[in-house]
């Protein structure tokens, strides 16, 4: 039946871009319109981590795990983990929080995921730039010693965050209480990702366990860009492999179970 033409690809892409940009604007408005508090919190949170760590550090008179500046060590860790988890957290909830919008046939679950990701990635990159810039200014030296590695690391973090979120958003649509499970593993994941310590200083047995946590690789990758001679527990191939696998599974689940995900 040739009269029922499919939409040409260029038109479909334009439609996608239109839908996603409208969703980005809408998400930004709902995220920040109710109160300015939302934006303040997102700035306070990394600062609070650093503050608490520095306080403990001073009281316990512990030595800095690595380098000469405790704030830099902890900030690299906080951004390696929190940025990755922060972006993926909002993104994996995209389908649920945009559920009413799925009434519009033009908006498909994947559009909501991409839109949330774009907004969150932009927000976190800005915050990261703000903190790193602030620290560089206060220390009066360059913090990012390997800019090439740093760009690479940011891209890897974004890729992993997107993949992890896509997997969680689609699989979470099928498994009841999956979201609660994600909340539960959040703290263990954070503690196991090496924010507060240097993984290579631990015993090989512990390292072998920590190695499985992809967030650890995000943190360690981040640190290789901020230190000249840091010894990371890092396998770039593992992080990218896990991300690719999660993305493939997430997209497949979305395609196969689309009707159930829409009605979840």
């Amino acid at each position: 039946m040739s009269i029922f033409a499919e939409k040409p690809l260029s038109y479909a892409l334009k439609e996608n871009a239109r839908v996603i940009s409208a969703l980005v604007v809408r998400n930004a408005v709902t995220r920040f319109s109710k109160s300015r508090f939302g934006f303040i919190w997102i700035l306070v949170e990394p600062a609070a981590y650093v503050g608490i760590f520095l306080a403990i550090h001073t009281f316990a008179k512990a030595h800095i795990p690595f380098g000469d500046n405790a704030a830099l060590f902890i900030l690299a860790g906080v951004f390696g983990f929190r940025m990755t988890r922060g972006i993926s957290r909002k993104t994996e909830r995209a389908i649920i929080s945009n559920q009413p919008m799925l009434t519009y046939p033009l908006i498909r679950p994947l559009d909501t995921i991409v839109a949330s990701f774009l907004l969150e990635a932009t927000i976190w990159l800005m915050i990261c730039a703000l903190f790193m810039g602030g620290l560089a200014y206060s220390m009066d030296r360059a913090i990012i010693v390997y800019p090439g590695d740093f760009m690479e690391c940011l891209l890897a973090i974004l890729f992993f965050a997107f993949s992890f979120a896509t997997f969680n958003a689609t699989v979470g649509g099928l498994i009841p209480r999956y979201d609660t499970f994600l909340n539960m593993i959040n703290l263990p994941l954070m503690l196991l990702s090496g924010i507060f310590y240097m993984p290579t200083q631990l015993s090989p047995e512990v390292q072998a366990i920590l190695w499985w946590n992809p967030f650890l690789h995000c943190v360690e990758w981040f640190r290789t860009a901020t230190y000249i001679d840091y010894t990371p527990l890092l396998d770039k191939g593992y992080l990218l492999g896990v991300a690719t696998g999660l993305l493939a599974i997430g997209l497949t689940v979305e395609r196969v179970f689309r009707p159930r995900i829409i009605n979840a």
């Binding site: 409208a22 604007v25 009434t103 519009y104 033009l106 829409i262």
Partner: protein
């Protein structure tokens, strides 16, 4: 033209089994013929609307659509409570690639919400929400309008206004209306369809459809509790 080709759709029932909405259903909705759809609560009228719009997908079979089809205009979804009426309007204009100002002008004139357009939608009454949603949908020119009960919440002035818009659009817009109100169906629709037991049966006369529907309501009371296992 909207064609249902052997379409089946079912939902899992709480406690096991399946609730069948459509069972190997084939039909065509032709342009220019306004259809009123009746059925008792839970017969699947809203699901049918979502299937027609493409918002929901069938379990099996194909739905072929030609022409611009609106989203199902109903009580659920659509407008976001946290956003203002105007923000909702702009958002929908954006996703359909329409000029924001033109759409907003139409909506503010049609909905008569005045300054409330700049208030969050969650502060609206049911009637105000209906006027907003209806206004946005009418501002974008579709060839098929899927209306799920929403006209019924309006007062008579609103209903009159809706009728006027549809009369103007009659030549190039087709209406698929879900309603329990015989009066609304009579004034808007040419033919009727009754949803029951996984099938949508068409009647060439809307009066006949209303009679069949009322007959079903009489005979099926009290609500049947039998289970269909699939």
């Amino acid at each position: 033209m909207i064609i249902f080709d052997n379409v089946s759709k079912a939902f899992p029932r709480p406690g096991g089994g399946k609730k069948i909405i459509l069972d190997k259903f084939s039909a065509a909705f032709r342009p220019g013929i306004n259809v009123g759809i009746l059925g008792r609560n839970g017969a699947g009228k809203s699901t049918l609307m979502h299937l027609i719009s493409g918002g929901d997908l069938p379990d099996s079979g194909r739905i072929i659509r030609e022409g611009k089809i609106s989203w199902p205009l109903g009580f659920n979804g659509g407008v976001h409570g946290k956003l203002t009426g105007a923000q909702n309007t702009r958002f929908i204009a954006d996703i359909y690639g329409k000029n924001r100002h033109k759409v907003l002008d139409f909506v503010s004139e049609f909905s008569e919400l005045g300054p409330y357009l700049d208030m969050p939608v969650r502060t609206y009454s049911a009637g105000m929400k209906a006027r907003l949603a209806f206004g946005i949908c009418m501002a974008i020119e579709f060839e098929y309008y899927l209306i799920d009960e929403v006209i019924a919440v309006g007062d008579s002035a609103f209903k009159k206004k809706c009728k006027e818009v549809f009369d103007q659009r009659r030549e190039n817009a087709t209406l698929l209306l879900v309603s329990h109100s015989a009066g609304l169906l009579r004034s808007f629709c040419d033919i009727g369809g009754v949803m029951n037991e996984g099938q949508l049966t068409f009647y060439n006369d809307i009066e006949e459809a209303i009679e069949v529907h009322e007959e079903i309501l009489r005979t099926s009371r009290p609500a049947p509790k039998r289970r269909q296992s699939a």
